[in-house]
Protein backbone atom coordinates (compact mmCIF):
# COMPACT_ATOMS: atom_id res chain seq x y z
CA UNK A 1 0.00 0.00 0.00
CA UNK A 2 2.75 2.38 0.98
CA UNK A 3 4.63 1.64 -2.23
CA UNK A 4 1.49 2.29 -4.25
CA UNK A 5 0.90 5.60 -2.51
CA UNK A 6 4.50 6.55 -3.17
CA UNK A 7 4.06 5.68 -6.81
CA UNK A 8 0.92 7.80 -6.97
CA UNK A 9 2.83 10.73 -5.52
CA UNK A 10 5.63 10.25 -8.06
CA UNK A 11 3.13 10.16 -10.93
CA UNK A 12 1.37 13.30 -9.67
CA UNK A 13 4.68 15.13 -9.26
CA UNK A 14 5.95 14.10 -12.68
CA UNK A 15 2.68 15.11 -14.31
CA UNK A 16 2.93 18.59 -12.79
CA UNK A 17 6.66 19.09 -13.27
CA UNK A 18 7.25 17.70 -16.77
CA UNK A 19 5.26 20.36 -18.70
CA UNK A 20 6.91 23.19 -16.75
CA UNK A 21 10.35 21.66 -17.20
CA UNK A 22 9.67 21.12 -20.92
CA UNK A 23 8.81 24.80 -21.26
CA UNK A 24 12.23 25.77 -19.90
CA UNK A 25 14.01 23.15 -22.02
CA UNK A 26 12.44 24.66 -25.14
CA UNK A 27 13.60 28.19 -24.24
CA UNK A 28 17.33 28.95 -24.41
CA UNK A 29 18.42 31.37 -21.64
CA UNK A 30 19.33 33.91 -24.31
CA UNK A 31 15.71 34.02 -25.45
CA UNK A 32 14.60 34.71 -21.90
CA UNK A 33 16.88 37.73 -21.68
CA UNK A 34 15.72 38.90 -25.12
CA UNK A 35 12.09 38.49 -24.10
CA UNK A 36 12.74 40.63 -21.02
CA UNK A 37 13.81 43.42 -23.32
CA UNK A 38 10.94 43.10 -25.78
CA UNK A 39 8.37 45.88 -25.83
CA UNK A 40 5.50 43.41 -25.89
CA UNK A 41 6.68 41.79 -22.67
CA UNK A 42 7.42 45.00 -20.81
CA UNK A 43 4.11 46.60 -21.76
CA UNK A 44 2.22 43.46 -20.77
CA UNK A 45 4.12 43.21 -17.47
CA UNK A 46 3.22 46.78 -16.56
CA UNK A 47 -0.45 46.27 -17.49
CA UNK A 48 -0.58 42.99 -15.57
CA UNK A 49 1.08 44.31 -12.41
CA UNK A 50 -0.96 47.51 -12.37
CA UNK A 51 -4.37 45.91 -12.97
CA UNK A 52 -3.68 42.96 -10.65
CA UNK A 53 -2.47 45.23 -7.83
CA UNK A 54 -5.52 47.49 -8.01
CA UNK A 55 -7.97 44.59 -8.32
CA UNK A 56 -6.27 42.70 -5.49
CA UNK A 57 -6.27 45.72 -3.19
CA UNK A 58 -9.99 46.20 -3.81
CA UNK A 59 -10.65 42.51 -3.12
CA UNK A 60 -8.67 42.67 0.16
CA UNK A 61 -10.28 45.90 1.39
CA UNK A 62 -13.84 44.79 0.65
CA UNK A 63 -13.38 41.06 1.06
CA UNK A 64 -11.72 40.93 4.48
CA UNK A 65 -14.52 42.61 6.51
CA UNK A 66 -17.10 40.77 4.40
CA UNK A 67 -15.48 37.42 5.18
CA UNK A 68 -15.28 38.37 8.88
CA UNK A 69 -19.01 39.03 9.00
CA UNK A 70 -19.75 35.79 7.16
CA UNK A 71 -17.54 33.80 9.53
CA UNK A 72 -18.84 35.29 12.79
CA UNK A 73 -22.52 35.84 12.19
CA UNK A 74 -25.22 33.24 11.71
CA UNK A 75 -28.16 34.56 9.73
CA UNK A 76 -30.92 33.37 7.47
CA UNK A 77 -29.64 32.82 3.95
CA UNK A 78 -26.00 32.61 4.98
CA UNK A 79 -25.59 29.35 3.03
CA UNK A 80 -27.02 31.03 -0.03
CA UNK A 81 -24.62 33.96 0.29
CA UNK A 82 -21.67 31.57 0.56
CA UNK A 83 -22.87 29.76 -2.56
CA UNK A 84 -23.22 32.99 -4.54
CA UNK A 85 -19.70 33.97 -3.52
CA UNK A 86 -18.34 30.70 -4.84
CA UNK A 87 -20.24 30.87 -8.12
CA UNK A 88 -17.49 32.61 -10.16
CA UNK A 89 -15.24 29.74 -9.10
CA UNK A 90 -17.19 27.24 -11.19
CA UNK A 91 -17.97 29.57 -14.11
CA UNK A 92 -15.90 29.00 -17.23
CA UNK A 93 -13.87 32.21 -17.79
CA UNK A 94 -15.61 32.79 -21.12
CA UNK A 95 -18.96 32.84 -19.33
CA UNK A 96 -17.58 35.28 -16.78
CA UNK A 97 -16.45 37.55 -19.64
CA UNK A 98 -19.84 37.47 -21.34
CA UNK A 99 -21.61 38.06 -18.01
CA UNK A 100 -19.40 41.10 -17.30
CA UNK A 101 -20.15 42.44 -20.79
CA UNK A 102 -23.88 41.93 -20.23
CA UNK A 103 -23.59 43.92 -16.99
CA UNK A 104 -21.10 46.68 -17.82
CA UNK A 105 -21.23 46.89 -21.64
CA UNK A 106 -22.13 50.34 -22.92
CA UNK A 107 -25.60 49.33 -24.14
CA UNK A 108 -26.17 46.71 -21.45
CA UNK A 109 -27.62 46.57 -17.93
CA UNK A 110 -25.47 49.19 -16.15
CA UNK A 111 -23.90 50.74 -19.25
CA UNK A 112 -26.32 53.67 -19.42
CA UNK A 113 -25.87 54.56 -15.74
CA UNK A 114 -22.09 54.35 -16.03
CA UNK A 115 -21.89 56.51 -19.14
CA UNK A 116 -24.18 59.08 -17.47
CA UNK A 117 -21.53 59.22 -14.75
CA UNK A 118 -18.90 59.69 -17.42
CA UNK A 119 -17.42 56.23 -16.89
CA UNK A 120 -16.60 54.15 -19.93
CA UNK A 121 -15.60 50.58 -19.18
CA UNK A 122 -15.16 48.85 -22.54
CA UNK A 123 -11.58 48.38 -23.78
CA UNK A 124 -10.08 50.21 -20.76
CA UNK A 125 -7.91 49.04 -17.88
CA UNK A 126 -10.99 49.38 -15.70
CA UNK A 127 -12.48 46.47 -17.65
CA UNK A 128 -9.35 44.40 -16.97
CA UNK A 129 -9.51 45.28 -13.27
CA UNK A 130 -13.18 44.28 -13.09
CA UNK A 131 -12.48 40.96 -14.84
CA UNK A 132 -9.52 40.18 -12.57
CA UNK A 133 -11.43 41.11 -9.40
CA UNK A 134 -14.44 39.08 -10.48
CA UNK A 135 -12.52 35.86 -11.02
CA UNK A 136 -10.10 36.17 -8.09
CA UNK A 137 -12.46 37.33 -5.34
CA UNK A 138 -14.05 33.93 -4.60
CA UNK A 139 -10.55 32.48 -4.09
CA UNK A 140 -9.87 35.09 -1.44
CA UNK A 141 -13.33 35.13 0.15
CA UNK A 142 -13.50 31.35 0.55
CA UNK A 143 -10.11 31.21 2.20
CA UNK A 144 -10.75 34.28 4.34
CA UNK A 145 -14.07 32.97 5.68
CA UNK A 146 -12.33 29.71 6.62
CA UNK A 147 -9.46 31.62 8.26
CA UNK A 148 -11.81 33.71 10.41
CA UNK A 149 -13.86 30.63 11.32
CA UNK A 150 -10.68 28.97 12.56
CA UNK A 151 -10.06 31.79 15.00
CA UNK A 152 -10.93 30.69 18.53
CA UNK A 153 -14.28 32.33 19.21
CA UNK A 154 -13.67 32.52 22.96
CA UNK A 155 -10.76 34.94 22.38
CA UNK A 156 -12.98 37.26 20.37
CA UNK A 157 -15.75 37.00 22.94
CA UNK A 158 -13.28 37.70 25.73
CA UNK A 159 -12.12 40.86 24.02
CA UNK A 160 -15.74 41.95 23.60
CA UNK A 161 -16.62 41.31 27.25
CA UNK A 162 -13.55 43.26 28.32
CA UNK A 163 -15.07 46.22 26.56
CA UNK A 164 -13.16 46.44 23.28
CA UNK A 165 -15.25 48.07 20.54
CA UNK A 166 -15.99 45.84 17.48
CA UNK A 167 -13.47 47.60 15.24
CA UNK A 168 -10.73 47.11 17.82
CA UNK A 169 -11.65 43.43 18.21
CA UNK A 170 -11.43 43.01 14.45
CA UNK A 171 -8.07 44.75 14.00
CA UNK A 172 -6.32 43.68 17.20
CA UNK A 173 -7.67 40.16 17.77
CA UNK A 174 -9.38 38.52 14.80
CA UNK A 175 -7.15 39.90 12.03
CA UNK A 176 -3.79 38.92 13.60
CA UNK A 177 -5.10 35.47 14.56
CA UNK A 178 -6.41 34.83 11.03
CA UNK A 179 -3.35 36.33 9.31
CA UNK A 180 -1.88 32.99 8.24
CA UNK A 181 -4.98 31.82 6.42
CA UNK A 182 -5.66 35.29 5.03
CA UNK A 183 -2.14 35.53 3.62
CA UNK A 184 -2.39 32.18 1.91
CA UNK A 185 -5.81 32.99 0.47
CA UNK A 186 -4.49 36.33 -0.69
CA UNK A 187 -1.54 34.70 -2.48
CA UNK A 188 -3.76 32.20 -4.25
CA UNK A 189 -6.20 34.90 -5.34
CA UNK A 190 -3.40 37.16 -6.56
CA UNK A 191 -1.90 34.33 -8.63
CA UNK A 192 -5.30 33.51 -10.10
CA UNK A 193 -5.79 37.18 -10.96
CA UNK A 194 -2.40 37.45 -12.68
CA UNK A 195 -3.22 34.42 -14.82
CA UNK A 196 -6.70 35.65 -15.77
CA UNK A 197 -7.28 35.22 -19.49
CA UNK A 198 -10.73 34.23 -20.74
CA UNK A 199 -12.87 36.89 -19.07
CA UNK A 200 -10.32 39.59 -19.91
CA UNK A 201 -10.04 38.85 -23.63
CA UNK A 202 -13.83 38.78 -24.02
CA UNK A 203 -14.64 41.71 -21.75
CA UNK A 204 -11.67 44.05 -22.16
CA UNK A 205 -10.19 43.09 -25.53
CA UNK A 206 -6.46 43.07 -26.16
CA UNK A 207 -4.31 46.10 -26.98
CA UNK A 208 -0.61 46.35 -26.25
CA UNK A 209 0.12 48.76 -23.43
CA UNK A 210 -3.55 49.24 -22.54
CA UNK A 211 -5.45 46.00 -21.93
CA UNK A 212 -2.96 43.35 -23.04
CA UNK A 213 -1.93 41.50 -19.89
CA UNK A 214 0.81 38.84 -19.80
CA UNK A 215 -1.52 35.90 -20.56
CA UNK A 216 -3.07 37.84 -23.46
CA UNK A 217 0.38 38.72 -24.79
CA UNK A 218 1.35 35.04 -24.75
CA UNK A 219 -1.76 34.17 -26.73
CA UNK A 220 -1.21 36.97 -29.27
CA UNK A 221 2.45 36.07 -29.73
CA UNK A 222 1.56 32.42 -30.17
CA UNK A 223 0.51 33.20 -33.74
CA UNK A 224 3.30 35.67 -34.50
CA UNK A 225 6.43 34.70 -32.68
CA UNK A 226 6.17 31.30 -31.04
CA UNK A 227 9.59 31.60 -29.38
CA UNK A 228 8.65 34.89 -27.75
CA UNK A 229 5.39 33.32 -26.51
CA UNK A 230 7.39 30.48 -24.95
CA UNK A 231 9.86 32.88 -23.37
CA UNK A 232 7.11 35.06 -21.87
CA UNK A 233 5.49 31.86 -20.61
CA UNK A 234 8.71 30.83 -18.90
CA UNK A 235 9.10 34.27 -17.33
CA UNK A 236 5.52 33.97 -16.11
CA UNK A 237 6.37 30.70 -14.37
CA UNK A 238 9.32 32.40 -12.67
CA UNK A 239 7.15 35.32 -11.59
CA UNK A 240 4.57 32.92 -10.11
CA UNK A 241 7.23 30.89 -8.31
CA UNK A 242 8.80 34.02 -6.83
CA UNK A 243 5.38 35.21 -5.67
CA UNK A 244 4.58 31.90 -3.98
CA UNK A 245 7.99 31.65 -2.32
CA UNK A 246 7.84 35.23 -1.09
CA UNK A 247 4.43 34.71 0.46
CA UNK A 248 5.49 31.45 2.11
CA UNK A 249 8.59 33.06 3.55
CA UNK A 250 6.88 36.09 5.09
CA UNK A 251 7.40 35.25 8.78
CA UNK A 252 4.09 36.51 10.16
CA UNK A 253 2.25 33.96 8.11
CA UNK A 254 4.23 30.94 9.15
CA UNK A 255 2.29 31.01 12.41
CA UNK A 256 -0.51 29.38 10.49
CA UNK A 257 -0.37 25.62 10.84
CA UNK A 258 -1.38 25.10 7.23
CA UNK A 259 -0.53 27.14 4.18
CA UNK A 260 -3.61 25.98 2.34
CA UNK A 261 -6.36 28.57 2.25
CA UNK A 262 -8.94 25.82 1.92
CA UNK A 263 -8.73 24.19 5.29
CA UNK A 264 -12.25 24.22 6.52
CA UNK A 265 -12.82 24.85 10.15
CA UNK A 266 -15.88 23.09 11.44
CA UNK A 267 -18.68 25.56 11.10
CA UNK A 268 -20.52 26.00 14.36
CA UNK A 269 -23.92 26.39 12.84
CA UNK A 270 -23.96 23.17 10.91
Amino acid sequence: MRALAGLALAVALAFLIVPVAALFLRVPPGDLIAALGSGVFRDALVVSLKTSAIAHLAVLVVGTPAAYVLARRRFLGRGLVLTVIELPLVLPPAVAGIALLAAFGRYQLLGGTLSALGISVGFTQLAVILAVAFVESPFYLRGAVAAFEAVDGTLVDAARTLGAPPARVFFRVALPLAAGGLGAASALALARGLGEFGATIIFAGSLQGVTQTLPLAIYAQFEQDFDLALAIGALFVLLGAVLLLFLKLVPGWTRSSSSSPFRFAPSRSS
Partner: protein
Amino acid sequence: MRLVLVAALATGLALPSATTAASPITVFAAASLTAVFPRIAPAARYSFAGSDQLALQLQQGAPADVYAAASPKYPELLYHQGLVRKPVVFATNRLVLIVPRNNPARIGSVYDLRRSGIKLVIGDKGVPIGAYTRQILDTIGISADVLKNVVSEETDVKGIVGKVALGEADVGFVYATDARPVASRVKVVPLPAWAQPPIRYEIAVVKGGREPAARGFVARVTGKAGRAVMSKAGFGLPKG
Protein backbone atom coordinates in the same frame (compact mmCIF):
# COMPACT_ATOMS: atom_id res chain seq x y z
CA MET B 1 -25.30 -1.64 -50.35
CA ARG B 2 -27.97 0.05 -52.37
CA LEU B 3 -28.57 2.63 -49.65
CA VAL B 4 -24.87 3.31 -49.40
CA LEU B 5 -24.68 3.74 -53.15
CA VAL B 6 -27.57 6.18 -53.15
CA ALA B 7 -26.01 8.15 -50.34
CA ALA B 8 -22.67 8.26 -52.07
CA LEU B 9 -24.20 9.31 -55.36
CA ALA B 10 -26.27 11.97 -53.62
CA THR B 11 -23.14 13.56 -52.25
CA GLY B 12 -21.53 13.31 -55.67
CA LEU B 13 -18.56 11.32 -54.49
CA ALA B 14 -16.95 9.09 -57.05
CA LEU B 15 -16.95 5.39 -56.30
CA PRO B 16 -13.63 3.90 -57.28
CA SER B 17 -13.91 0.99 -54.87
CA ALA B 18 -16.25 -0.47 -52.30
CA THR B 19 -14.17 0.78 -49.36
CA THR B 20 -14.67 4.45 -50.17
CA ALA B 21 -18.39 3.92 -50.24
CA ALA B 22 -18.26 2.24 -46.87
CA SER B 23 -16.26 4.91 -45.05
CA PRO B 24 -16.42 8.63 -45.85
CA ILE B 25 -13.36 10.59 -46.91
CA THR B 26 -11.72 12.96 -44.44
CA VAL B 27 -11.63 16.67 -45.28
CA PHE B 28 -9.39 19.17 -43.47
CA ALA B 29 -10.96 22.59 -44.00
CA ALA B 30 -10.53 26.17 -42.77
CA ALA B 31 -12.85 27.17 -39.92
CA SER B 32 -14.63 29.73 -42.11
CA LEU B 33 -15.95 26.84 -44.25
CA THR B 34 -17.73 25.18 -41.31
CA ALA B 35 -21.19 26.25 -42.44
CA VAL B 36 -20.79 25.58 -46.17
CA PHE B 37 -18.85 22.34 -46.75
CA PRO B 38 -21.32 20.00 -44.99
CA ARG B 39 -24.02 21.48 -47.20
CA ILE B 40 -22.04 20.66 -50.32
CA ALA B 41 -21.09 17.12 -49.27
CA PRO B 42 -22.84 15.92 -46.09
CA ALA B 43 -21.32 12.44 -46.11
CA ALA B 44 -17.66 13.42 -45.77
CA ARG B 45 -15.93 13.58 -42.38
CA TYR B 46 -14.71 17.08 -41.51
CA SER B 47 -12.07 18.60 -39.33
CA PHE B 48 -12.48 22.38 -39.23
CA ALA B 49 -9.66 24.47 -37.76
CA GLY B 50 -7.25 27.26 -38.61
CA SER B 51 -5.58 26.69 -41.99
CA ASP B 52 -2.15 26.87 -40.38
CA GLN B 53 -3.00 24.29 -37.71
CA LEU B 54 -4.36 21.90 -40.31
CA ALA B 55 -1.24 22.33 -42.44
CA LEU B 56 0.88 21.50 -39.40
CA GLN B 57 -1.17 18.36 -38.77
CA LEU B 58 -0.77 17.29 -42.42
CA GLN B 59 2.98 17.79 -42.17
CA GLN B 60 2.95 15.49 -39.14
CA GLY B 61 1.21 12.83 -41.20
CA ALA B 62 -2.42 13.25 -40.17
CA PRO B 63 -4.65 11.06 -42.36
CA ALA B 64 -6.70 13.40 -44.56
CA ASP B 65 -7.87 13.09 -48.16
CA VAL B 66 -8.61 16.75 -48.95
CA TYR B 67 -7.17 20.03 -47.66
CA ALA B 68 -9.07 23.31 -48.09
CA ALA B 69 -7.44 26.50 -46.75
CA ALA B 70 -8.44 30.15 -46.34
CA SER B 71 -5.36 31.35 -48.21
CA PRO B 72 -2.99 29.99 -50.88
CA LYS B 73 -0.04 30.14 -48.45
CA TYR B 74 -0.23 26.69 -46.90
CA PRO B 75 -1.64 24.68 -49.85
CA GLU B 76 1.20 26.02 -52.03
CA LEU B 77 3.75 25.23 -49.32
CA LEU B 78 2.46 21.67 -48.92
CA TYR B 79 2.42 21.27 -52.72
CA HIS B 80 6.03 22.36 -52.80
CA GLN B 81 6.80 19.80 -50.09
CA GLY B 82 5.14 17.06 -52.16
CA LEU B 83 2.36 16.40 -49.66
CA VAL B 84 -0.61 17.48 -51.81
CA ARG B 85 -1.52 17.62 -55.51
CA LYS B 86 -1.68 20.94 -57.35
CA PRO B 87 -4.07 23.26 -55.42
CA VAL B 88 -6.87 25.15 -57.17
CA VAL B 89 -8.69 28.33 -56.15
CA PHE B 90 -12.33 27.56 -55.35
CA ALA B 91 -13.60 30.69 -53.60
CA THR B 92 -12.72 34.27 -52.81
CA ASN B 93 -13.70 36.59 -49.99
CA ARG B 94 -13.88 40.34 -49.45
CA LEU B 95 -13.22 42.58 -46.49
CA VAL B 96 -16.12 44.63 -45.18
CA LEU B 97 -16.75 46.93 -42.24
CA ILE B 98 -19.42 45.95 -39.76
CA VAL B 99 -21.08 48.43 -37.40
CA PRO B 100 -23.73 47.80 -34.72
CA ARG B 101 -27.27 47.97 -36.10
CA ASN B 102 -27.83 51.49 -34.64
CA ASN B 103 -24.45 52.67 -35.96
CA PRO B 104 -23.59 54.83 -32.92
CA ALA B 105 -20.53 56.42 -34.55
CA ARG B 106 -22.40 57.14 -37.80
CA ILE B 107 -19.96 55.41 -40.07
CA GLY B 108 -20.83 55.54 -43.75
CA SER B 109 -17.48 54.78 -45.34
CA VAL B 110 -13.95 53.75 -44.47
CA TYR B 111 -12.86 57.39 -44.55
CA ASP B 112 -15.04 58.07 -41.49
CA LEU B 113 -12.68 55.85 -39.50
CA ARG B 114 -10.14 58.70 -39.44
CA ARG B 115 -12.32 60.67 -37.02
CA SER B 116 -10.90 60.53 -33.51
CA GLY B 117 -12.79 58.84 -30.69
CA ILE B 118 -14.09 55.97 -32.79
CA LYS B 119 -13.80 52.54 -31.16
CA LEU B 120 -12.31 50.32 -33.86
CA VAL B 121 -11.60 46.61 -33.41
CA ILE B 122 -9.27 44.82 -35.83
CA GLY B 123 -7.40 41.52 -36.02
CA ASP B 124 -3.96 41.09 -34.51
CA LYS B 125 -1.26 41.47 -37.16
CA GLY B 126 -0.32 37.78 -36.76
CA VAL B 127 -3.67 36.49 -38.01
CA PRO B 128 -4.79 36.76 -41.67
CA ILE B 129 -7.73 39.10 -41.00
CA GLY B 130 -5.39 41.51 -39.21
CA ALA B 131 -2.81 41.36 -41.99
CA TYR B 132 -5.45 41.96 -44.69
CA THR B 133 -6.90 44.88 -42.70
CA ARG B 134 -3.54 46.64 -42.49
CA GLN B 135 -3.01 45.93 -46.19
CA ILE B 136 -6.28 47.56 -47.31
CA LEU B 137 -5.70 50.59 -45.06
CA ASP B 138 -2.23 51.01 -46.57
CA THR B 139 -3.68 50.79 -50.08
CA ILE B 140 -6.27 53.44 -49.27
CA GLY B 141 -3.54 55.49 -47.61
CA ILE B 142 -5.20 56.22 -44.26
CA SER B 143 -3.36 53.75 -42.01
CA ALA B 144 -1.86 56.24 -39.58
CA ASP B 145 -5.11 58.06 -38.80
CA VAL B 146 -7.25 54.92 -38.62
CA LEU B 147 -4.93 52.73 -36.55
CA LYS B 148 -4.91 55.42 -33.84
CA ASN B 149 -8.55 54.49 -33.16
CA VAL B 150 -7.89 50.80 -32.54
CA VAL B 151 -9.16 49.82 -29.09
CA SER B 152 -8.50 46.09 -29.39
CA GLU B 153 -6.50 43.70 -31.55
CA GLU B 154 -8.37 40.42 -31.52
CA THR B 155 -6.77 37.06 -32.17
CA ASP B 156 -9.60 35.79 -34.36
CA VAL B 157 -12.54 37.03 -36.38
CA LYS B 158 -15.05 35.79 -33.78
CA GLY B 159 -13.67 38.31 -31.27
CA ILE B 160 -14.17 41.17 -33.73
CA VAL B 161 -17.70 40.10 -34.73
CA GLY B 162 -18.74 39.60 -31.09
CA LYS B 163 -17.58 43.00 -29.88
CA VAL B 164 -19.32 44.83 -32.73
CA ALA B 165 -22.49 42.71 -32.50
CA LEU B 166 -22.77 43.53 -28.77
CA GLY B 167 -22.28 47.23 -29.48
CA GLU B 168 -19.09 47.53 -27.42
CA ALA B 169 -17.09 48.59 -30.48
CA ASP B 170 -18.24 51.10 -33.09
CA VAL B 171 -16.79 49.28 -36.07
CA GLY B 172 -14.67 46.29 -37.08
CA PHE B 173 -12.99 44.80 -40.14
CA VAL B 174 -14.18 41.27 -41.01
CA TYR B 175 -14.65 38.98 -44.02
CA ALA B 176 -17.94 39.45 -45.89
CA THR B 177 -18.95 35.88 -45.02
CA ASP B 178 -18.57 36.52 -41.26
CA ALA B 179 -21.19 39.27 -41.34
CA ARG B 180 -23.94 36.94 -42.61
CA PRO B 181 -24.63 34.95 -39.42
CA VAL B 182 -25.02 38.15 -37.34
CA ALA B 183 -26.96 40.09 -40.00
CA SER B 184 -29.73 40.93 -37.50
CA ARG B 185 -27.30 42.68 -35.16
CA VAL B 186 -24.86 44.43 -37.47
CA LYS B 187 -24.89 46.53 -40.60
CA VAL B 188 -22.34 46.02 -43.34
CA VAL B 189 -20.46 49.01 -44.76
CA PRO B 190 -18.68 47.98 -47.98
CA LEU B 191 -15.03 48.79 -48.57
CA PRO B 192 -13.82 50.15 -51.92
CA ALA B 193 -13.42 47.36 -54.46
CA TRP B 194 -10.23 48.91 -55.87
CA ALA B 195 -8.47 48.56 -52.53
CA GLN B 196 -9.47 44.96 -51.75
CA PRO B 197 -6.53 42.60 -51.18
CA PRO B 198 -6.85 39.27 -52.99
CA ILE B 199 -8.33 36.78 -50.49
CA ARG B 200 -8.32 33.34 -52.10
CA TYR B 201 -9.32 29.93 -50.78
CA GLU B 202 -7.45 26.96 -52.21
CA ILE B 203 -8.28 23.25 -52.16
CA ALA B 204 -6.01 20.29 -52.88
CA VAL B 205 -6.10 16.49 -52.95
CA VAL B 206 -3.78 15.00 -50.33
CA LYS B 207 -1.20 12.58 -51.75
CA GLY B 208 -1.42 8.99 -50.62
CA GLY B 209 -5.00 9.28 -49.42
CA ARG B 210 -8.01 8.00 -51.33
CA GLU B 211 -7.25 10.21 -54.26
CA PRO B 212 -10.05 9.30 -56.68
CA ALA B 213 -12.71 9.94 -54.02
CA ALA B 214 -10.91 13.12 -52.99
CA ARG B 215 -10.89 14.29 -56.62
CA GLY B 216 -14.63 13.68 -56.65
CA PHE B 217 -15.02 15.91 -53.61
CA VAL B 218 -12.92 18.68 -55.16
CA ALA B 219 -14.96 18.40 -58.38
CA ARG B 220 -18.16 18.82 -56.40
CA VAL B 221 -16.88 21.86 -54.50
CA THR B 222 -15.64 23.53 -57.68
CA GLY B 223 -18.68 22.39 -59.69
CA LYS B 224 -22.14 23.85 -60.06
CA ALA B 225 -23.57 22.60 -56.74
CA GLY B 226 -20.57 23.78 -54.76
CA ARG B 227 -20.49 27.18 -56.43
CA ALA B 228 -24.19 27.72 -55.68
CA VAL B 229 -23.72 26.99 -51.95
CA MET B 230 -20.53 29.08 -51.69
CA SER B 231 -22.12 32.01 -53.46
CA LYS B 232 -25.22 31.90 -51.25
CA ALA B 233 -22.97 32.05 -48.16
CA GLY B 234 -21.39 35.26 -49.45
CA PHE B 235 -18.19 33.90 -50.95
CA GLY B 236 -16.93 35.16 -54.29
CA LEU B 237 -16.18 32.66 -57.03
CA PRO B 238 -13.18 32.30 -59.31
CA LYS B 239 -13.86 32.52 -63.03
CA GLY B 240 -14.64 29.25 -64.77
